[in-house]
């Protein structure tokens, strides 16, 4: 992080951008610019090397075959692991979340190696696909309001001892393990099953990423009335029967 510039890296939009994942990049970029930061957004295609000097890395959701290809290319590249060891922040969604774990089950039913940046292992769920609105309480240590999102996945993710659950569910399936957890995180690496996109539904999570990247405790406030209106509507929709 140099002076007031922020380097935002969006990983593999050619493979992992199926569920409006660009939204997370747009929200972080917008909220950083509104705080006067000079944002350099880098979209990295899967035939390009991952830059190691980014401040925040985003990785999105995708279909099963692109997920396998993305994991193969990211493991081969090695740049994201180097960025994390330099202190970069990573925020991942769905297929991207599974890739950051130690292992997941790919489109041909094989266990495939992930990046191991999160202490989680994902398998394919046996039951129905999880589709719908989700409501959860984010780990109180992170000091954030309720998490609202939309899930659409078949994965089940088991957390190991060094991964903390990102949130506790009150509606929805989240990690799909039945233990009420949703997502996982450690110091600088976050994973969630939430689409929506999640940062548009939860702008203070975007701000958390900015604070971690800038190493500050607070950011200037913004006019969040549309985000707030959307949150109120979605939280109320999730808690009322359809």
């Amino acid at each position: 992080m140099s002076d007031n510039s922020l380097r935002l890296v969006w990983i593999y939009p050619d493979l992992l951008s199926t569920y409006g994942d660009q939204g997370n990049a747009l929200v972080v970029e917008r909220r950083a610019r509104q705080r006067g930061l000079d944002v350099q957004r880098v979209d990295v295609r899967s035939d390009q090397p991952i830059p190691t000097s980014g401040d925040i890395y985003l990785i999105g959701g995708g279909e099963d075959r692109p997920q396998r290809l993305a994991a193969e290319r990211l493991v081969r590249d090695g740049g994201l692991e180097r960025a994390v060891s330099n202190g970069a922040i990573v925020f991942s969604v769905c297929a991207g979340y599974q890739i950051l774990g130690k292992e997941f089950v790919n489109d041909v039913g094989q266990r495939q190696e992930g990046l191991g940046l999160l202490d989680v292992v994902s398998v394919r769920g046996e039951g129905e696909r999880c589709v719908g609105d989700v409501l959860a309480d984010i780990d109180p240590r992170l000091g954030l309001p309720q998490l609202t999102g939309f899930e659409n996945h078949q994965g089940v993710t088991h957390l190991g001892p060094t991964a903390r659950p990102f949130a506790r569910l009150s509606m929805g399936r989240g990690n799909g393990t039945g233990d009420g957890t949703e997502g996982a995180y450690n110091d600088t690496v976050f994973g969630t099953y939430m689409h929506g996109p999640v940062l548009a539904r939860n702008p203070l999570v975007a701000d958390l990423l900015l604070k971690l990247a800038l190493d500050v405790n607070a950011l200037p406030g913004l006019d969040d009335r549309w985000y707030e209106a959307l949150r109120t509507e979605r939280i109320s929709a999730a808690t009322q029967p359809a």
Partner: protein, 412 residues
């Protein structure tokens, strides 16, 4: 040859009669045209009815993510130059709706049938089409639809044994993948603005290279085939190199592409391009789409856009700023309940337009526009949006059920 020379079997006749009776009851009860319920009743009585009804027709199937209904209409108009046509013109595009439409056309020579993407392979097996037109494939209703590439794979498997002439868009790699297992393909360079579902090679997964209008996979060599028909600006070039002007009443580049494909389909049946295109000029609106209506003393053009590719094509046809724009988005069952696709749409293209936002999911849209840095107003109703809009014809863009809501309100 087409034309009903052989009578339907007694069972098929009974099924058609029962289906028409159910449709009449449904209409009387105020539940829409009744074509779907009629078709369901008929298909239950005779599961082979679709094939039996199609037996005497020269059938054209049309499928795509976007442009199916319009292209079906354009092809139907073009083929009327050569004989009577039966068509599911209102967009009831699953087997029941198709059965119902065909049951209404006993004197027809041609059946021009729009087919939902998920049912294409099955319908193509049942009706033995002469031509199948494939326009484009892109993300749509991801909460319930198959993944886009999987859909292309299913088409590829389903069409590999078909004897039909496949008229296919060579500018969409997923369409090319779907069609390239077929023996008889007519490639049309119809263009495709939206590219974000085909950066990954459908054959091997390699990264697609896209210099200019060309595309190819650097790893396996899968590449854009050479077209025999080409949409070039306001003209379509036929296989002999003649350029025919396209003067549609329907707006936009995408409809020129639909017309080019339709001309290629008509040519399979011997209808020359100039005859086919002239007949297409008569089409003014398709199931309410592109219609300009008067509402509360204002002129409002009704535009349907259901997914990112559709929104992108729609932005390119609206009048420039300061034309006011009303946007309406719902997320009911028929729309898909996941609104995340809004973030795949580049709304900055609306900069300079006064923007009014309505619909069940107006707040999702409000956040989307806020993040795009646009000025907009959120309204409770269509009436409020239209009344607040500054002078000029209003462009109204809505997704599926939002579009139906608007049509009901304006009495279209």
């Amino acid at each position: 040859m087409a034309g009903n020379t052989e009578p339907l079997s007694p069972r098929a006749k009974l099924a058609v009669t029962a289906g028409k009776a159910a449709a009449a009851v449904s209409r009387a009860a105020g539940r829409g045209s009744g074509s779907v319920i009629g078709g369901k009743v008929a298909l239950r009585l005779d599961p082979d009815l679709l094939g039996a009804l199609a037996q005497h027709l020269d059938v054209v199937l049309v499928s795509a993510t976007n442009g199916k209904t319009t292209t079906t209409r354009l092809i139907a108009e073009a083929l009327r130059a050569s004989g009577p046509v039966v068509s599911n013109a209102l967009g009831a595009n699953m087997p029941a709706g198709i059965t119902s439409a065909l049951a209404g056309g006993s004197d027809a020579k041609y059946g021009v049938i729009e087919v939902d993407e998920k049912y294409l392979a099955g319908v193509a097996r049942d009706v033995t089409p002469k031509v199948i037109a494939l326009l484009n494939l892109s993300r749509d209703q991801l909460d319930r639809a198959a993944e886009t590439r999987m859909l292309a794979e299913k088409w590829r498997e389903g069409l590999s044994g078909s004897k039909a002439v496949i008229v296919a868009n060579c500018d969409d790699p997923l369409i090319v993948w779907s069609a390239s297992s077929s023996q008889n393909v007519v490639w049309v360079a119809a263009g495709q603005e939206w590219k974000d579902d085909a950066w990954s090679c459908p054959s091997c997964g390699g990264v697609m290279q896209r210099p200019g209008d060309d595309w190819f996979c650097g790893e396996c060599g899968f590449r854009r085939p050479t077209p025999s028909w080409v949409l070039s600006g306001d003209h379509v070039l036929d296989p002999h190199g003649s350029a025919w002007p396209i003067h549609l009443q329907l707006p936009g580049r995408a409809n020129k592409a639909n017309a080019a494909t339709s001309a290629a389909v008509a040519a399979v049946f011997g209808v020359p391009p100039q005859v086919a295109l002239e007949r297409m000029y008569q089409v003014q609106a398709v199931a309410g789409r592109y219609d300009v209506v008067s509402f509360l003393g204002r002129e409002v053009r009704l535009l349907l856009a259901k997914n990112p590719a559709g929104w992108l094509e729609t932005f390119s046809l609206i009048d420039p700023p300061p034309t006011p724009v009303v946007l309406s988005v719902n997320a009911r069952g028929a729309d898909g309940t996941d609104t995340s696709w809004l973030w795949d749409v580049d709304y900055t293209r609306l900069a300079g337009h006064p923007i009014f936002v309505i619909g069940d999911r107006k707040l999702d849209l409000a956040v989307r526009l806020e993040v795009a840095g646009l000025d907009f107003r959120v309204c409770e109703t269509l009436d409020e949006a239209v009344q607040l809009a500054p002078p000029g014809q209003i462009e109204l863009i809505a997704n599926y059920t939002a579009f139906q809501d608007v049509r009901r309100r304006v009495g279209n």
